[in-house]
């Protein structure tokens, strides 16, 4: 693998479409970093709950002090002291006090509650805290800060509801940013677990980082496996076709040059090459192989002459295939644009080497007289056409959906990994937002103020059971305006002391003891409001960073809606509020819309390309182009029908594969239509057949890959080229010397 020295990215985001509007950008963001992108989810299973708890605690203790981790939790930790103190300091700015909370009646009620709790032993504030905070405002503040969706706890740590898995959450520090370091960390985690656990106990790790690390390992393993297997198959096929080992050796030259040219071009243009692109790129070799094969089949002792004869057809084939890949250049998927560049440069290099280098070295090739095979019997031809047409009709009538509508299906993550992630997330009860409210404003405060106007409607929905939970920046940190209002409403010290005297009468409390409370209120009255992302609110940065951010010149706040039952109802109520800058987004719908738009876009692109190819052919070959075009279209239709019947919903990757098939099909068709001397026609058929077999071998191997995208590509092309081969044999007839054979 010439991958050494190349910078190989494994950012799976390269295979997510570029977002053109805000909603799409939001979706891509969510897909990229649902929970924080630096989070790892761990699940320990295979033992009774008590033992799992023990393992969880041991592991956590072991991980303490690991510089690579910013935060590690298994539910055993309570509220971090720093956060507890911060909330206590700022409680009056953060919470909405009850009506008349600070007058004699309100204080009396609050004090009675505290006493009742004390008597019942259910007091959550200790006496020192009560003297500072008799109205328990800190408890209300804690409640607002808690993120929605808390996993269940048993034995004091997070566990799945069934008690069969202990959960841990790790957040990596920004220092551990490189994929290598992350891979090392994951390996260390497994090693640590192996040391601490007994047989039968398992550790599962999931999260975006785990996916990337896994993906890189899988991709490199797959690429290696495919490269080896493909090389072996192709070598065998070539030897069988030409009975000369020199051919096998020589065939590697254009292929190697193709690979070199492709990776160099991508590196120069994009600064690096994505691992998956490289894996895709290997498949280009299946096509690049075609050029030397055509040469070998026609060479028969006079390679220079042969190449000059077939060059026009070869060139036209190269052009059409390149146009097929050219469709990818303007693609919304950055990874696919890389693929387009890789393919075009690679194929051009292979063709060039075949044209100008190979013939000089091609000696010792046994001259083979190849009979042109008898034309396909009319009855067989009719049968094939009938079967093909019938299949297409059956597929057309099949009610299953044709197009892939779930954007998650584009993910290059293998199904097994997805399943692990789903299970861990479910056990962790990680609240996934299905809908979002996007609130936009010209500055952060405007966003917060707008969100504050939404909060009552959301709280009402939650109370009514229509909404499981919601999370919004304004809930955590109120707007400056709201804070000012609350702080200004706090009573001055003399009034507060008087109220306390009245409130404590009849109770076993002494008003004078509550000076800490009076001091705190006085201090709150005099303090400036808290602003997000400043030094005073550093402790909230993590929570807020995911909920509100700057984009271009505006600020956008996300309100996450979790477990929303009737989206239409809530949407209507929100609209009725007439809040400017507010958008209701359904993540699933947006995803589908993006996909449809992209497919639509891709479809249009493909159509133009198809027309361009047809035009090119017509210009080059005039009437001879017609059967070629018919054959290619028939093959494409057949392939799509078969894919549909195989329960493959068409996605963008199918489209790409079909573009490749189009190029290859045109290649086969052109060569088949080429005609020439009778002996030559035998060579041509031999060439096309060998091309087909080698392409089939390479893409057939790809179809066996665990990576969904590679599997799709392999399957589609394997079916496609076979259909093209049959179609070109059946529907296209070689041109005779005088005119067109119909």
């Amino acid at each position: 693998m010439l991958a050494q020295g190349l910078r190989i990215d494994s950012d799976l985001g390269l295979f997510l479409p570029r977002a053109h509007d805000r909603e799409a950008a939001v979706l891509v963001d969510e897909l990229r970093s649902g929970a924080a992108a630096r989070t790892l989810l761990l699940g320990i299973s295979g033992a009774p709950p008590a033992r799992l708890a023990e393992l969880s605690r041991t592991l956590l203790a072991d991980l303490r002090g690991d510089a690579r981790l910013q935060h590690a939790s298994n539910g055993s930790g309570g509220l971090p002291r720093a956060l507890g103190e911060w909330v206590m300091e700022n409680r009056y700015a953060l919470t909405v006090p009850g009506v008349n909370a600070f007058d004699a009646n309100g204080l009396g009620r609050a004090l009675r509650q505290r006493l009742a709790d004390l008597a019942a032993g259910s007091n959550l504030l200790d006496p020192e805290q009560i003297l500072r905070d008799p109205t328990a405002a800190s408890l209300a503040a804690f409640a607002r800060l808690a993120p929605p969706g808390q996993p269940t706890k048993r034995h004091g740590i997070w566990m799945s509801a069934a008690g069969d898995r202990a959960m841990m959450l790790l957040e990596l520090s920004t220092d551990a940013a490189s994929l290598d370091q992350q891979a090392l960390l994951i390996r260390d985690l497994h090693a640590l677990f192996a040391r601490r656990s007994d047989a039968g106990e398992r550790l599962l790790i999931s999260g975006p980082i785990a996916f990337s690390v896994d993906a890189r390992r899988t991709i490199s393993a797959e690429s290696r496996r495919l490269a080896l297997a493909a090389s072996a198959c192709v070598a065998v096929l070539l030897f069988a076709a030409y009975r000369a080992s020199s051919v096998v050796v020589l065939a590697t030259l254009p292929v190697a040059c193709s690979l070199l040219a492709g990776t160099t071009a991508v590196s120069m243009l994009f600064g690096g090459i994505h691992g998956i692109t490289l894996a895709f790129g290997i498949t280009v070799l299946g096509v690049a192989m075609d050029y030397p094969i055509h040469l070998f089949s026609h060479a028969a002792g006079r390679p220079q002459h042969a190449i000059r004869k077939i060059w026009p057809t070869l060139r036209l084939g190269l052009l059409s295939t390149s146009m097929g890949y050219g469709a990818l250049l303007g693609s919304d998927f950055p990874g696919l644009a890389q693929l387009g560049v890789f393919a075009i440069t690679g194929l051009a290099a292979a063709a060039a080497v075949t044209r100008w280098v190979l013939p000089h070295w091609l000696t010792g090739l046994p001259a083979a007289t190849r009979q042109e095979p008898a034309p396909v019997r009319a009855s067989l031809r009719a049968l094939l056409i009938l079967v093909g047409a019938a299949l297409i009709v059956v597929a057309a009538l099949d009610p299953r959906p044709w197009l892939e509508s779930d954007i998650a299906a584009l993910s290059p993550i293998p199904e097994a990994s997805k399943r692990v992630d789903r299970d861990l997330r479910r056990d962790m009860a990680l609240a996934e937002a299905t809908h979002l409210l996007l609130v936009e404003g010209q500055d952060i405060q405007q966003v917060l103020q707008r969100q504050e106007r939404l909060l009552p409607a959301l709280a009402a929905a939650r109370a009514a059971g229509e909404l499981a939970a919601f999370d919004a920046a304004a809930r955590i940190l109120p707007s400056v305006a709201a804070q000012r209002e609350r702080l200004a409403a706090l009573p001055a010290a003399p009034a507060l002391r008087t109220a306390l005297e009245q409130a404590t009468s009849g109770l076993p409390l002494r008003a004078a003891r509550f000076e800490p409370f009076v001091d705190d209120v006085e201090r709150a009255r005099a303090s400036a409001p808290l602003e997000p992302f400043t030094a005073r609110t550093r402790i909230l940065d993590g929570r807020l960073g995911h909920l509100i951010e700057q984009r271009a010149e505006r600020w956008i706040g996300r309100v996450l809606l979790i477990g929303l039952q009737q989206p239409a109802d809530l949407e209507a109520r929100i609209r009725a509020l007439n809040l400017p800058g507010t958008d209701f987004v359904s993540l699933h719908d947006t995803g589908s819309r993006m996909l449809r738009a992209f497919l639509h876009d891709g479809g249009i692109r493909a159509l133009w390309l198809g027309l361009a190819i047809v035009a090119a052919l017509v210009v080059a070959q005039r009437r001879a182009a017609v059967p070629v075009v018919v054959a290619v279209l028939a093959a494409l239709g057949f392939s799509v029908a078969v894919l549909h019947l195989l329960d493959e919903a068409l996605s963008i990757f199918h489209m790409i594969a079909l573009l490749l098939v189009l190029g290859i099909g045109v290649d086969y068709g052109l060569f088949r239509a080429r005609g020439g001397a009778p002996g030559e026609r035998g060579d041509t058929v031999h060439a096309v057949r060998t091309c087909w077999l080698t392409t089939l071998a390479v893409f057939g191997l790809l179809a066996s890959s665990k990576i969904p995208v590679l599997h799709t590509l392999g399957l589609t092309v394997a079916i496609g080229v076979s259909a093209c081969y049959v179609a070109s044999m059946v529907l296209v007839h070689p041109r005779t010397a005088g005119g067109v054979d119909s």
């Binding site: 055993s76 930790g77 509220l79 507890g84 505290r114 006493l115 008597a119 032993g121 959550l124 808390q150």
Partner: protein
Amino acid sequence: MRMGPGTCRTWTMLWALLSVAVAPITCAADASRWTLDDLLVARQKVTQEYAAFTQERHSLLLERPLLSEGTLHYRAPALLEQIITSPFPSHIRLDGDDLTLERDGASTRISLQQYPAAARDASALRGVLSGDRSAVESAFSLSFQGSEDAWSLLLVPSGNSVVDDARDTATSESRIEFHGTGAFIDRIEIRRSASERSVMTITPAAPSAAPATGAIR
């Protein structure tokens, strides 16, 4: 020496007398050896209990001890209900880790899982009530003394489950002490520090609507 039939009968009678005399002595000795395990086993047999209580709460906050009274209801293994009749009528229900507080017509639900220190104490209380040793030993070390008629069980935090929680009010002087007779617990003393403690005195009671099953000796 040849034993005649008369001698045999005498020996038999002597043996019988001796065994009868010895039996109460051994029984009495057994009766005085009542261990923690005996208590736990006895508690495990208790399925429901109704009791009345009075409580004295001492606190730095208070000018004078706060006296309250009411009733208690326990149902094995994890349900504990406290109905406080005075001075602040409340109904508190602890089911596992779910705490429901009803007072002044308002109901609040809290999951003690969010408050590790309180969860720890609740777990210990449940453990003793239901005779579940492991639930208690996970966070406390136990010392038991006394006899069946009057025993005491002291729980001191063992520092095992170290919880770094801003809301953890436990100190080095924290302890929970149970006193009882047989399987019936008649006094619970919870102490956070020298100034923060509560003493609850419990007497058996009949439930208002259901027959008392009471404690089993």
